[in-house]
């Protein structure tokens, strides 16, 4: 018996990989049709896109830089989803993470990097966690929905950033920006390719994904978070405090977004400026969806989206607007969200293919 259901579990794991993979392929195909429709050559366009994403060391550096913050905001949103909170506020939490990291990083000139770097990272995570906990606390205390409160907090964080870089922390002329953080608080690059660098932040981001995976799957904290996410009434009955859990999940989710902000400051810009988060917080929602809220899946989906983004820039050079990628991304989300459609395709295909055992077919039907 047990072995049988482990087989089923394996199969459902396989499915949860297959569905997004197929969704991506189909979406790219539809993208190709659209490119054809606007009178361009899709093979050429996608070729350029691939080159833009992976064709050179510079391309890779650009790609991985984008991926770092996307992975972390994806994790932030995905972790929240698993615990039943809809954290739309990764954008604002990322900004707060950047602000906290910047303020701490400015003042660590006389501290050696081994201390300065962890301190700055921690400050960023605290900033994000603090910002998200406000929404968590409001929900636990008053029932205010986190979608509303996190959106409001996004705006506050946005205006706060603008105020800081044009007021108390402003430096130089041109666009309002903060001063650079101390050298000792900057993360050294992993690799350097001409003017671009592969930030070492990616290692921290992947480590974060693994930690979140372990947290969700192996710990009591994850057990409680998922229990609340699935059925808060039963969780409460099982002695799990709903309000404590909501605040805690929000804090963890916010810490991840805050980490994205901190790494953006420590690896890429070394400072903040208005809208330095460039909507990565919102992209996190997309990435969490495609990665099916699974931390490991989110690593792949973040890489997918960063590659599409990195490639889309080059696509413009052959006359294909980079909006195509936005469309492709939208179609991917549609298919992943409507995963039953894809599952039915897979089942039909396997039926046609070799008329497999009825078990597999039923398994899909009832899943």
């Amino acid at each position: 018996m047990a072995s049988k259901s482990e087989v089923t579990n394996m199969r459902s794991k396989w499915m949860s990989f297959l569905v997004p993979a197929l969704a991506v392929l189909v979406s790219l195909l539809i993208g190709a049709i659209i490119i054809l429709a606007i009178g361009q050559n899709p093979i050429k366009a996608y070729g350029v896109m691939l080159k833009g994403a992976f064709g050179s060391r510079v391309a890779w550096a650009d790609n991985i830089t984008k991926m770092t913050s996307l992975l972390l905001t994806g994790l932030a949103v995905g972790f929240g989803f698993r615990a039943g909170v809809f954290n739309i506020g990764a954008e604002g939490q990322m900004a707060m993470g950047g602000i906290f990291a910047m303020i701490i990083g400015l003042n660590l000139g006389n501290v050696p990097p081994v201390i300065a770097i962890p301190l700055t990272i921690l400050a960023g995570m605290l900033g994000g966690a603090f910002w998200a906990s406000i929404a968590g606390w409001l929900k636990a205390q008053t029932g205010a929905h986190e979608v509303i409160t996190t959106i409001m907090l996004n705006w506050i964080a946005y205006h706060l950033t603008n105020y800081l870089v044009s007021g108390p922390f402003t430096v130089g002329i041109g666009i309002p920006k903060s001063p650079e953080i101390a050298k000792s608080a900057q993360l050294p690059p992993l690799l350097t390719a001409q003017a671009s660098t592969v930030p070492s932040g990616i290692i921290i981001a992947i480590a974060a994904a693994i930690v979140i995976y372990i947290l969700l799957e192996k710990t009591t904290l994850g057990y409680e978070a998922k229990a609340v996410g699935f059925n808060p009434y039963a969780a409460e009955y099982g002695g799990i405090s709903i309000s404590k859990n909501i605040v805690l999940t929000m804090a963890i989710s916010g810490a991840l977004a805050g980490l994205a902000g901190a790494l953006e400051v420590m690896c890429v810009h070394h400072r903040i400026f208005g809208a330095f988060t460039s909507d990565r917080g919102f992209d996190g929602i997309t990435i969490a969806l495609i990665g099916q809220n699974n931390p490991i899946g989110i690593i792949f989906s973040a890489f997918l989206i960063s590659s599409l983004r990195a490639g889309s820039n080059s696509m413009q050079t052959v006359g294909v607007p980079d909006d195509i990628i936005v469309i492709v991304q939208g179609i991917i989300i549609f298919f992943v969200a409507a995963d039953r459609i894809i599952k039915t395709w897979i089942i039909k295909a396997s039926k046609l293919g070799k008329n497999k055992s009825s078990q597999t077919i039923k398994g899909g039907e009832e899943a």
Partner: protein, 521 residues
């Protein structure tokens, strides 16, 4: 009844399901089942939890496709793509968990999905008229303008029945309709079923209550482990034979309650007040004590504060005033976890909502509320070896079917879900257990088992608060009985002290003193 027989006289049958097999990834839920229902009869379908009754009916209603087999409805072979095809073929189903929209009115719910229109506008007046007509014709008393959330379960069920009739059902499937009804409501339902039968409707009725089945049905089909073990005429069988066919062995239908020596008083509730969701007083000034090794039964018609009482004592609901003591310690309004850590456990009345996390596998459900403690957790990490070992033993001990700890709890049949909850709550050897409707939806074998476990707990000096709408269950298990009416105690007495009629009077609001006065006269 042989197969040729059925084939010859197919036109007398409303439903004929032939050689139906349904395979789920982990179980064969229906194994070559033949099931035939004559036109115009009430046909009962019984069987143990997980026998495959609901699955069989879901296929007739087009919710699942059979893995193999054929279905005939009114002499015509059918191949339903979904419930809408089944509805067109004249089949209606009332599920065990109702599918009504809470904040719409009765009339709106009935016509939902097939709304009458006047031009492009929804014709509410016409809808109301139709519903009223159906309701009068079959004695289905409903309040057409009331919102679903404001009416009792019994009426919600009548709304479900009207809904199927409104869509033109000639064959009605009722999946455990009486599990949630009071005895009065059950009687009313039976009147309705008889009226429907007189009007030529065919009814398939699933139940675990053999007495009811014997009372209402013409024919009975028994299922066991996915197979049909027999179809019998109701007039030619009895409770014992049916129980035997279902379980495959003799079942003890009444349990023995050996005398015990009571220990010290361990639970003490004094003048507690509890509010319901609408902030109205639901439990009023209630007091009682329970001793070690004692079962206190709470009798009463549903909705008289029993739910709120159970929730308050388990820490889920605030006690507004009064005192709740355990082992001489004040525990009023402690958190659920604090209360559970004292050795108090709780079998909730709503197993789907409170008792289980359907998306979790069985082994995660079995440790809910102990998941953070040794040996299941160590410094914040789950110990999967221990969790699985413990789960394997509980699943075996409580006979959960299929005995697969990796199965998602939501995939279990209703009765087996209840077994998982029982295993968790009784398996932790509690000192005090609050038990609400423990056997709702269980088969006779499982009921026997639950009753034995509760008696065992009592023998091991556990204190039990038993809340049940089944007076019979209260009478067969309790040492003492307290009757609740509108949130208050109507009095408390030793089991055996009062007759069933007298208890009935108390359940209707008479105080025990008044009854004792009557007795003396």
């Amino acid at each position: 009844m042989s197969e040729e027989n059925i084939q010859e006289t197919l036109k007398d049958y409303a439903v004929y399901m032939k050689n139906i097999t349904k395979v789920f990834p982990k179980v064969v839920a229906n194994d070559n089942v033949n099931f035939a229902v004559k036109k115009g009869e009430i046909h009962a379908l019984i069987g143990e939890n997980g026998a495959g009754k609901t699955t069989l009916m879901n296929q007739l209603y087009g919710l699942y496709k059979p893995t193999s087999g054929e279905i005939y409805v009114f002499d015509k072979k059918v191949d339903f793509k979904g419930p809408s095809d089944a509805i067109k073929a004249g089949i209606g189903m009332v599920h065990q968990h109702f599918m009504l929209v809470d904040n719409l009115t009765v009339a709106e719910n009935v016509v939902l999905g097939s709304e009458p229109k006047k031009g492009i506008l929804f014709d509410l007046k016409f809808a109301k008229k139709e519903v009223k007509e159906l309701s009068e014709r079959y004695g289905l008393k409903v309040d057409v303008d009331a919102k679903i959330e404001d009416i009792p379960v019994g009426m919600q069920q009548r709304v479900e029945i009207i809904k199927t009739l409104y869509r033109g059902a000639d064959i009605l499937i009722l999946d455990e309709p009486t599990a949630v009804l009071t005895p009065q409501e059950t009687n009313e339902l039976f009147e309705i079923l008889r009226a429907l039968k007189n009007d030529g409707k065919t009814i398939i009725f699933i139940s675990h209550k053999l007495k009811e089945v014997l009372e209402i049905s013409d024919t009975i089909t028994v299922m066991r482990l996915g197979k049909v073990t027999g179809t019998v005429k109701t007039s030619e069988t009895n409770e014992k034979e049916l129980a035997n066919m279902m379980v495959g062995r003799n079942v003890v239908l009444s349990i023995e309650r050996p005398p015990t020596t009571l220990g010290k008083s361990i639970v003490k509730v004094e003048n507690i007040w509890v509010k319901d969701n609408r902030k109205l007083d639901a439990v009023k000034d209630l007091s009682f004590e329970i001793k070690e090794g004692e079962i206190l039964g709470i009798a009463g018609v549903a909705g008289n504060g029993q739910t709120e009482l159970a929730e308050a004592l388990s820490g889920l609901r605030k006690i507004e005033s009064g005192s709740y003591m355990f082992n001489g310690k004040e525990i009023t309004n402690l958190s659920v976890r604090e209360i559970r850590e004292l050795g108090i456990s709780h079998i909730p009345e709503d197993r789907q909502r409170r008792g289980l996390i359907p998306e979790f596998p069985v082994y995660f459900n079995l440790i809910l509320s102990q998941h953070y403690k040794e040996p299941f957790a160590n410094r914040g990490f789950l110990n999967f070896d221990e969790i699985k070992k413990y789960s394997h033993s509980l699943v075996k001990k409580f006979d959960v079917r299929p005995p697969d700890i990796y199965n998602l709890a939501g995939n279990l049949s209703g009765g087996n879900q209840q077994k998982v909850i029982l295993a968790r709550e009784i398996g932790s050897s509690p000192k005090f257990i609050i038990v609400s409707q423990p056997t709702r939806g269980l088969d006779v074998g499982a009921i026997e088992y639950v009753h034995k476990e509760l008696i065992n707990l009592r023998l091991n000096k556990g204190a039990v608060l038993l809340i049940s709408m089944e007076l019979e269950e209260i009478l067969s298990l309790s040492d003492r009985i307290l009757v609740m009416y509108e949130g208050r105690s109507m009095g408390e007495f030793e089991n055996g002290e009062l007759t069933i009629e007298e208890i009935g009077l108390m359940m209707a609001g008479k105080r025990i003193e008044e009854i004792k006065v009557l007795e003396k006269v």
